[in-house]
């Protein structure tokens, strides 16, 4: 396999202040204890990939980072902004969301807006960027993800892979310091997965800090600086891709990998 991970790893400065700091985070959905004492620190420039079975809490974990999910106990600081347990919408939350981009499994593009307007909406409304400037940035980003010629179309006129790349451009338009990816290729037809992963690979190479939940194990092995395996709301193992994929220590990691890597 062609592995070229040196580029993204070299950009990680492990002594820098972490951009995400999660300490003993606990979350319940009613009686269900979804996250149990989860600790996570993400260093600027780092690419962290979270793997685990469905229902293990991996999506919930990254959705806590930008406050789409509340938590009940623990501490969470994102780029210097602290979120309190059960925190309602407040200034810190707003600040975090302007600096943390997210790409969703179902794309969640705005169907009533053209591709261009999808990308320019939040820079114009949140950052008060003038339209001309926002359009220029949007066109540059759309070109970068390979959809420059589709900016007047509406999301439903694009393929799934194209929609997900627009969603990526839309998030990047806010010039985020951290990007979250929640199973970005799980809703795509197999032939479109590659184009989305390529765009993400490119982003990692440019040094973007990324936290990615995915089932694409080869991709994880290739781009991750660190792989985290989560099982029933607990981080049971983490390390470099080589450590986790080639030499897993925990037996639950071993059985999970045996199941997903054999087919």
């Amino acid at each position: 396999m062609n592995k070229d991970t040196t580029l993204s790893r070299s950009s990680v400065d492990t002594n820098a202040t972490p951009i995400v700091s999660m300490q003993k985070l606990n979350k319940h959905f009613g009686k269900l204890h979804v996250l149990k004492d989860v600790d996570l620190e993400v260093t600027p420039g780092e690419v962290v990939v979270i793997i685990g079975a469905s229902g293990s809490g991996k999506s919930t974990m990254i959705r806590c980072i930008n406050g789409l999910e509340e938590f009940q106990k623990g501490q969470l600081t994102v780029d210097g902004n602290s979120l309190s347990p059960d925190g309602k919408a407040n200034r810190a939350l707003q600040q975090i969301r302007t600096e943390v981009g997210m790409v969703f499994q179902q794309f969640n593009l705005f169907p009533h807006l053209s591709v261009l307007d999808n990308v320019t909406l939040s820079p114009m409304k949140v950052r008060n960027t003038p339209r001309a400037e926002a359009t220029q940035t949007a066109n540059r980003l759309l070109e970068r993800v390979g959809i420059a010629d589709q900016s007047d179309k509406y999301p439903t006129q694009l393929s799934g892979g194209q929609q997900q790349r627009v969603a990526l451009a839309r998030a990047l338009a806010m010039e985020p310091r951290l990007m979250l990816f929640d199973e970005p290729t799980s809703a795509l037809d197999p032939e479109m997965i590659g184009e989305v992963l390529d765009a993400m690979r490119e982003l990692a190479r440019e040094g973007m800090t990324m936290v990615i939940v995915t089932h694409e194990m080869n991709f994880a092995r290739e781009v991750a600086d660190r792989v985290i395996y989560i099982h029933k709301g607990e981080i049971v193992e983490q390390g470099t891709p080589e450590d986790v994929f080639d030499n897993p220590q925990n037996e639950r990691t071993q059985s999970f990998l045996a199941r997903v890597l054999t087919h």
């Binding site: 302007t98 969703f104 179902q106 807006l113 909406l121």
Partner: protein, 223 residues
């Protein structure tokens, strides 16, 4: 005995100028009431889906009271009942507009609620994740999509309310039906005149239907 009945075309045509005097009242009460009803509907519809229970219950009360009582009773209450409270008479047209407003407002509240709730949760999450505030997310992401989905139901409510104004003949508003009744009282051409009245309602409601269909087609872009 000769029971042959001749449809008196002349009588039908003669009634038109007289009936047309009622049309402005019908339109004024319908569209005046619906405009206010739309605002009431947005207000109570959004309260109805508030996460705060103490905001939801006034909305539920409003909707149930005005959706659960006949519009005829509502207008009689406003026209004959309220003056006892206020100590002065209420103009019949004002009473009609008020009745359509509160009645359509209750139904439109439910239309607004259904429209907003039909928007996928991911749309809200995408808006918030981009740094838009909750209000901005609603205004730029949720509402434009919800409104498009509401158009057919709003059209229905508009047509229902236009027809409901016919009931207001009973409080003496000189709208279409009332004009027809007065005209028939002197000419006795009930068949011809009520048919003309019906045709005039049809013209109004068909115009609205066509306008809404055009609006809907325009709004289908990208959906």
């Amino acid at each position: 005995m000769d029971i042959t009945f001749h449809f008196n075309w002349q009588a039908a045509f003669d009634s038109i100028p007289y009936l047309l005097k009622g049309v402005p009242y019908t339109l004024l009460i319908s569209f005046g009431g619906l405009a206010i009803g739309f605002l009431l509907g947005i207000f109570f519809g959004l309260l109805r889906i508030s996460p705060m229970q103490w905001l939801r219950w006034p909305a539920i009360t409003y909707i149930e009271v005005f959706r659960g009582t006949p519009v005829l009773v509502q207008v009689l209450f406003i026209f004959y009942g309220l003056p006892q409270l206020l100590g002065g008479p209420i103009d019949a047209v004002t009473a009609g507009i008020a009745a359509i407003a509160v009645n359509s407002g209750a139904y439109i509240s439910e239309i607004v609620r259904g429209g907003v709730q039909s928007i996928e949760r991911g749309q809200r999450e995408a808006g918030l994740s981009l740094g838009l505030s909750r209000v901005q997310t609603f205004r730029y992401v949720i509402w434009p999509q919800a409104f498009r989905r509401m158009i057919p139901a709003l059209g229905n409510q508009g047509i229902i309310s236009i027809k409901d104004t016919s009931l207001f003949a009973v409080i003496g508003v000189g709208e279409l039906v009332r004009q027809g009744q007065i005209y028939i009282a002197t000419t006795f051409n009930a068949l011809e005149v009520y048919m003309m009245v019906a045709i005039m309602y049809l013209i109004i409601t068909l115009t609205l239907s066509i306008a809404l269909r055009m609006l809907e087609r325009k709004g289908l872009v990208g959906q």
